[in-house]
Symmetry: C2
Subunit: 348 residues, 2 copies
């Protein structure tokens, strides 16, 4: 094992100087630094992770790319916080650390840079959108065999590694629950269309209606963007529809909470005048008044599996000729309906 002493001897400096070079502490003559670094290289001395990463081409970091959304406390949203907790658990088990990076989904970003600069060995993408900028970025990563996993977002006809949940089945089950409860005029409050899970839910809604022989009415399909305010705004539209609506499926709990608040202000009692079903089964669902029927999604498990799958890919891709294509991750986890007071049957 090469020691600091060997490097000091070869470079003709003190051991303290060698440490100062590698710890980057205090002032240092450039040519002294070069002498020490050259000696270290010659002796293949690796005092630290940076040096090791030169030798091994590994950083020991998993990158987690989050969409930058101004003013939104991203970690404070149930969706992101649960997934991040799962990723955190997964990387911790492997003795890795997670490098959290905020990137704007709409801007063309060179996702390969953190790999090339050895900041990360692989990345997990949260909140990815189906927009050209991101499609290009992912195509580039994939083309260069740089391991990455998408969570809760899939792109048709692309072979990318994805850990997703079965949102079509989840929404189908929720809408079927309303139909079984005697509701027929069911509005659908959707999230932003750039997310694959939004269209997945819409398919579930349409499937449940078709199965029950209920005609689809476009005016009952409302656009939201997963924010509480967009749910609050939808209350106006729902109220305007009056008796044409007897139940609402909201594509996440956050919108459902905003919707219920808006309805109350308009004198409509959620759970009594109108059945409401949310999605995510967040804390808010348990605490809201009335408690909100919702669809549980195993976000923590999704984050955990994405981390585990990515780490396998990284091992697989480390060998010569290795590639993330060797060990793709394709998981679709099941959801579960959780019935509470907000969706009591009409014939109660």
């Amino acid at each position: 094992m090469v020691t600091r002493k060997d490097v000091a001897k070869m470079a003709g400096v003190s051991e303290a100087t060698v440490s100062r070079v590698f710890n980057g502490v205090g002032p240092m003559k450039e040519n002294t630094r070069q002498k020490v670094l050259a000696a270290a290289k010659e002796l293949n001395y690796h005092p630290n992770a940076v040096a090791r990463s030169f030798a091994l081409g590994k950083s020991g970091h998993i990158g987690v790319i989050l969409p930058y959304v101004p003013k939104v406390h991203l970690f404070s949203t149930y969706y992101f916080s649960e997934i991040l907790s799962g990723i955190g658990e997964g990387v911790r088990r492997q003795g890795c650390d997670m490098l959290v990076m905020f990137r704007s989904p709409d801007e063309r970003t060179d996702y390969t840079e953190p790999y090339r600069s050895r900041k990360v060995d692989g990345c997990i993408f949260l909140g990815a959108l189906d927009v050209p900028a991101q499609r290009e970025g992912f195509r580039e990563l994939h083309g260069q065999n740089m391991p990455f996993v998408l969570i809760n977002q899939h792109y048709d006809n692309e072979p990318y590694s994805v850990v997703d949940a079965d949102h079509e089945a989840g929404c189908y089950e929720a809408v079927k629950h309303l139909i079984d409860g005697g509701f027929r005029r069911i509005a659908f409050l959707n999230g932003s269309p750039e997310y694959s899970n939004s269209s997945d839910r819409l398919r579930g809604y349409l499937g449940a209606l078709a199965e029950a022989g209920i005609d689809v009415r476009q005016e009952l399909i409302l656009d939201g963007n997963y924010s509480r305010t967009s749910g609050y705004a939808a209350a106006q539209k729902i109220a305007a529809l009056g008796s044409e609506v007897d139940a609402v499926f909201s594509s996440n709990d956050r919108m459902a909470v905003g919707l219920m608040q808006g309805l109350k202000e308009l004198g409509i009692a959620p759970g009594r005048d109108l059945a409401i079903v949310g999605y995510d089964d967040s804390e808010a669902a348990k605490l809201s008044d009335p408690p909100l029927t919702s669809v549980y999604v195993p976000f923590f498990e999704m984050g955990l599996r994405a981390a585990e799958g990515l780490l396998k890919q990284i091992e697989g891709s480390s060998g010569p000729g290795g590639s993330d294509r060797d060990i793709p991750v394709h998981e679709r986890l099941s959801t579960r309906l959780v019935v509470r007071q907000s969706s009591l049957p009409v014939n109660k």
Copy 2:
């Protein structure tokens, strides 16, 4: 500006080879690698962050040390998620990324390693405890002038940089609000004593009682650990005290929510039979039934300021003879009482 071409020429290899060396892609003869690296050093060529970190002694990463707590979804707790959102915003503004590391607070950990190995330029510690292992670790960091900032935790007689909130005043205000509402038999549900903010709150409680000439009764001071279950367990003790208690201050909302659930199951109506005040002003406080009077703590702002302060320290410490002691961070942000239905005055 030195280019890849210059390096290739000097090392006598192709430009593609230079790229492969620095991108760590594919197999590579060791002496070819050494030739390229030597040439790059000689020409001071910095193709990527790792090379730059060699030259500058900077990683561009802020370390965020989180306590590892098995089975707890840390990001999903309001406290951590808000602070992390603030840190994330702060590092993003500076074009840095955050390296999230989970460490067990009770185990002796060499906190200097991520600095020495250039994984981070500085660290922010969340959920630090006043235990010997962490005290030693911080003393070591401080002794080596490695920049770090503690959030919401201070150590008496230590000069460490801290971003804290005024929990003594926050709790004082909450208890005074109960006293002003006509309550005199106020129980205090404390959090784990290893946190400085727990003893800060206790001082606020004692101060408010003293000011009102109310004797302290030890049996009304209950131990919790900030978990919902510890609040739920406290309901039994509160119920057993019967009419000796007319109000409860809980040191966080999480325990208050558990307490209210437990009280309901025992036939005691929170907000009617017993006034409750929580702490943190989390989502749960707004959504709980009845809505919970709580103390707002600017956790996001605390995270943001810690990141900004740490980044200033890092700049300060990068120069010769620089040290984190140059620019210590000592902030104590104000809290704010938010009154809701759970603490209606007795003479309502």
